[in-house]
Symmetry: D2
Subunit: 143 residues, 4 copies
């Protein structure tokens, strides 16, 4: 994995994700980006459902997304992600590539915040889940 990213994964486009223009529908990119973030979270042994049961929700505050190349049935997607924290916001730089030719499909900057019992807050639990993984990775770079 390129050092510029903290996490990557890949999967194949599902036909039902394509709309009447024959390309992956816009809304599906949001699913793809969310899916990648959740898989990263799942590595810690937890998931959004568990957190929700504890009164913690990680929610989208803002997204900027540029679509460069449409995805079609049969395409493989390579999803790469870099994570940082700015005050109470978790910032995910997320890029999707078409695996066959490494062409950029989508560039997104996604900002998420924690709601604790429905109120905006700074969750130490979420910090630990999201940021320890990166720290560990960065530490191991120099070891």
């Amino acid at each position: 994995m390129n050092d510029d990213y903290d996490f990557e994964m890949s999967w194949k486009v599902r036909d039902y994700e394509c709309d009447l223009q024959g390309i992956v529908n816009n809304a599906i990119y949001m699913h793809y980006l969310e899916f990648t973030r959740n898989e990263f979270l799942n590595q810690t042994g937890t998931n959004l459902g568990d957190l929700h049961a504890m009164g913690i929700d990680i929610v989208l505050a803002r997204i900027t997304m540029s679509l460069k190349t449409p995805l079609r049935p049969g395409d493989e997607v390579l999803s790469k992600m870099k994570i940082s924290k700015e005050k109470i916001k978790y910032v995910f730089n997320q890029d999707l590539y078409r695996k066959s030719d490494n062409k950029i499909v989508c560039r997104a900057i996604v900002e998420l915040v924690s709601l604790i019992n429905g109120k905006l807050g700074n969750s130490k639990i979420v910090d630990k889940l999201l940021l320890t993984q990166i720290k560990d990775k960065n530490d191991s770079k120099f070891s």
Copy 2:
């Protein structure tokens, strides 16, 4: 309708649009925004399927979206939209409100482009479909 917008419509949240956090899922906002743009387009008597059959696709190039208030089952959504053109891009300023208290739910700036037989281009047909409606509206303001 407020003069600042060119088009507005409203609908009710459907329960199946809510995810395990009990709120409307992020990706659904993309559907809501697309739905509003398509209803605007449909007023001209055409739709994305007809255009696609003619070799014309209007596709998303870039979106910036801020989510302010989550939507829940039972909420009514008020969707308002302003349209402009910048070179070959159609720029839609789209705002979603919770109808019960007029609270802002989502602010988005959506940039779309035309593909003509798969190639980026400037479609006079799309210009006519999207921009004539606004012109007519603006003309009638002063008549």
Copy 3:
């Protein structure tokens, strides 16, 4: 409304519900049927989210669905529903029509059951919510 049905409603197909075949995707019919049932439930002033918070989930046990005519962008859907109870199951006979020519689109028999704190059961609350409405309607027929 035809006396054979207990509830009906209508809406317009949304372009994003159509897949690369240019017709409403199969899975969307499940959404349409669920949407109709939930709107019927909502008439009682409650919704699936409220019930879930009370530990009650109404879940799908079985469905038989025949698709007769595909729906396309711009089509209006007329959804009609008849409800009965068989032991612990709620049976919904649900038919979707294309409004323009009253052609049958989809016939479904949907069986739902109540889960109380995750266990299959017979919920008097759900009985009241779902069945009182029909009873009232049937009573008023003869009054």
Copy 4:
């Protein structure tokens, strides 16, 4: 793979597929079943988009589906399928299992038909794509 099935594959539940009841939404099962059929089709080097461009659409005529166990975030799905032809219908017996304990999640009988330029018909191309794979498999059993 068990000899009773012609094809199997597995994947992980995505969090966004779960609804406000915290379980995989009903409509997603339709996606799962369609996804499995399409992956089977893709093994032949084609897909629904290519067929659609040739004027051939394989569409759902009828489905019977029983849901036995709900799927939750993190669950792995094992999807198994058996294919046969009855007159002009392709009949898919499709079963979904929860991989962790092999518990049955969903049993479905799915009937599909071919539309050739929008008209119900018997496509030799679809026959070849769908049935040759099974024949080959069955032949090799006895070789």
